[in-house]
Each structure stands twice: as C-alpha cells, then as structure tokens.
C-alpha cells in the first residue's frame, strides 16, 4: 500500500478537523489551528508508517495544536474563554452558554468531550487522539460531560 495523495486527506477530512477546531478553540482561532495542523501533517506525511487511520492521525495532530493553543492563551493571561464575536460557534445547535462552558474544562476532558460528542468518535479513536488508554478516554469524556451538566444547571 502506498500513501494516497495528500490532497485526498484534505478533501476527506478537512470538515471533521475544522469542526473539531471550532469546538476546541472557537471560530476566531480555528483557521490558524487548521493551517498549523495540516502544515504539520504535510511535513510529516512522507515518513508516516501506519496509514490505517489517517483521519485519527489528523485529529491527533489537531488535538495537539488545540492543547498548545489552550496552554499559550493561559500563559498570555488572556481570559480562559474569550467571548467569540459570532453569536455562537457553529458546532452544535443552541445552548451557546453550554458550549462556552466547554472551555472551562481541563484540557483532557475538554478534548475528550469534543471528540466524543461533536465528532462522534469511538472511545478507541478518542484514546488514540489523546494518547491515553480507552478507559482514560471514557473517563475523561464522562467526567467532562458531568461537569458540563453541572455548569448547565448552574446557568438555568
């Protein structure tokens, strides 16, 4: 098996990567993270050994970029969650407050919740993207979701 032309990855997975990034870093920063994600991927692509899950590979890179972004915005002492200029991130219908709360979760939980509930990924793929065990992926998604529900109830 040969690696497919990189353009095919871009065509097939750009929407999922973009959807993840909008959920993870907000619509303002999604474009930059998208560029960084695919540039990193393209740089590493010819040496990629395992090509059984190219989408998972891209989401893993995007997750790292999102986590870098979270860390650097904390370092710059920017408010944890900037209020986006758009009314809501176009990731899921309704409840902008709820999705804004995603930004309050610790990184692993935040990523796990987005992978699982925005991208509908399997726990195996979530684990892959986060570089943790399937159990840890499940626990992070569960814990993140529980906290979100609490925050949602606090709003209501």
């Amino acid at each position: 098996m040969e690696l497919p032309p990189f353009q095919r990855l871009l065509d097939e997975h750009r929407l999922d990567v973009y959807r993840f990034l909008v959920a993870a870093v907000g619509p303002q920063e999604a474009d930059d993270c998208f560029q960084e994600t695919f540039l990193s991927a393209l740089r590493a692509y010819p040496r990629l050994g395992d090509m059984s899950n190219l989408k998972g590979w891209l989401i893993t890179i995007a997750t790292r970029k999102a986590m870098d972004h979270w860390r650097s915005s904390r370092r710059r002492a920017v408010p944890v969650q900037e209020v986006p200029e758009r009314a809501a991130a176009p990731i899921a219908d309704g409840e902008p407050e709820l999705w804004r709360s995603v930004g309050e979760l610790p990184p692993m939980q935040r990523a796990a919740v987005i992978h699982r509930y925005v991208l509908d990924m399997t726990y195996a793929d979530v684990a892959n993207a986060l570089g943790c065990s399937v159990e840890a992926a499940r626990a992070n998604a569960y814990e993140g979701r529980r906290k979100l529900r609490e925050m949602q109830e606090a709003f209501a």
Binding site: E2, Q35, P46
Partner: protein
C-alpha cells in the same frame, strides 16, 4: 440566561450525540473549504508541495496538469481517471500531492495561448523524472525538439535517439509519453503516410496537427528544421 428565557428546560440530554444542523454543516463545509484553499498556498510557500496539480478545460477535453519544482511532470487526458493519475504521482514522486492552481499557473497560461492559436509552440520546463534515462527518454527528448508546425516519422525519431532500426520501439516510447502536447508526440507520424496512432485518441492528434498548421505528409524533422525560435525550450 437563554435557557430561562426560552422557558423550557431541556428534557433531553443536550450534549448527547447531537448532530449539528444541516445549515451549520454547510457553513462549516464552506469555511473549511476556504481554509483548505488557503492551506494550498501556505504549503507551497513553505516549500512543502512536491507535486502541484490542477485541471483545465481545453478544446481537446479537460486536462490534468501536474508540476514539480523542476517543471511540468505530467499531463493527462480525461480518459485517465484523475484519482489514478494522482495515486501514480504519489507513489512514484512523492505523496505530497496538492491541488495548486498557483504552481501550475505558468503552464496553464501557455496551454491557453497554444489552444487560442497565439504564439508558436510551448516553452515550458519539463521534469523528466517519470521517464527514466534510456531509449524511451531519448525518444521523448528528440521529440521535444520537433518544432511547432512540423512533423517527423517514427524512423527519424528512432534514428536520432540512437537506434535507427527501432521505429516500433520509438512508437511504444511515444505511447508512454507522460507529457503529451507539450512533449509533442503528436508530431510523429508514419513514413507510410497518414497521421498514425495516438495514445490520447487519434482525433486529438488530427486536431493538434491542424491547429499547428502541419500537414501529415510534410517532411520536417528535428535535423533540418533550423528555426530555433520555434523550438520548445525543453529537454535541457
């Protein structure tokens, strides 16, 4: 808070497996498409695109044009499925294959001018990588020097490529030409008359020869054609 204003506490689990709506997906699709287009430019500027390609409509059908940093590497007629051509390029050259209108700009402009009858011939740098050095490469290099408006024969091309008796093999080499039109294999015709065969369908060969004002029985050859202005600058 918005949940209060609506006056209806959500009964369903609002987080669980909620898909985004169709219009949101359409918006994201649009945004991600634009981001992907921007990515192609950035990747090129970062020197990460090994093969850039585009398709263009011409009188002989939609052509797929692929270039590397060294020049035009592949030109394919629509009978060859785009997916297969791109896979072949990924396997033989590099998997860093990206749709890049920018990288193919120069070639596209030349082809447009050629099909509009402006200019005499194509001046395009060629990347010969897909044809390894050997007799086939020599045949294509000799063919690349047949001037616009002239024709040569399989026998003449074989002779110039160093194997006078290999007219048939020269025909095979031309059939394998990865860069038709620009490496003008359509200008090679049988010595017995007629326009002969063409890998890209014979009507195209007739069309191209007519476009160039060449007649199939004209006797021009790379040797006796001294008009260097018309000689494509390729094969260096």
């Amino acid at each position: 808070m918005r949940l209060e204003q609506r006056g209806d506490k959500p009964k369903k689990d609002t987080l669980h497996k909620k898909g985004s709506t169709a219009s949101q997906t359409a918006e994201l699709d649009d945004l991600s498409r634009r981001a992907a287009g921007e990515f192609a430019s950035r990747a090129r500027r970062a020197g990460l695109v090994d093969v850039g390609y585009t398709t263009m409509d011409t009188p002989v059908g939609r052509l797929l044009v692929a270039t590397t940093r060294n020049g035009l590497v592949r030109l394919a007629f629509p009978e060859e499925p785009e997916d297969l051509v791109l896979e072949e390029l990924a396997a033989t050259l590099s998997p860093r294959v990206i749709a890049s209108p920018n990288m193919t700009d120069g070639v596209r402009r030349q082809l447009d001018a050629y099909f509009e009858g402006r200019g005499r011939g194509l001046r395009t740098r060629v990347d010969w990588t897909l044809t390894p050095p050997g007799f086939f490469r020599k045949v294509l290099e000799v063919t690349a020097r047949i001037p616009f408006g002239s024709v040569s024969t399989y026998g003449q091309v074989a002779k110039l490529a160093g194997s006078p008796r290999a007219a048939r093999a020269a025909g095979n080499a031309l059939h394998e030409n990865p860069i038709p039109i620009v490496v003008p294999c359509h200008r090679v015709v049988p010595s017995s008359g007629g326009i002969g065969r063409y890998g890209g369908r014979e009507w195209r060969k007739a069309f191209l020869l007519q476009l160039e004002g060449a007649t199939a029985d004209a006797g021009g050859s790379p040797e006796n054609e001294a008009n260097s202005v018309r000689t494509p600058q390729i094969g260096r």
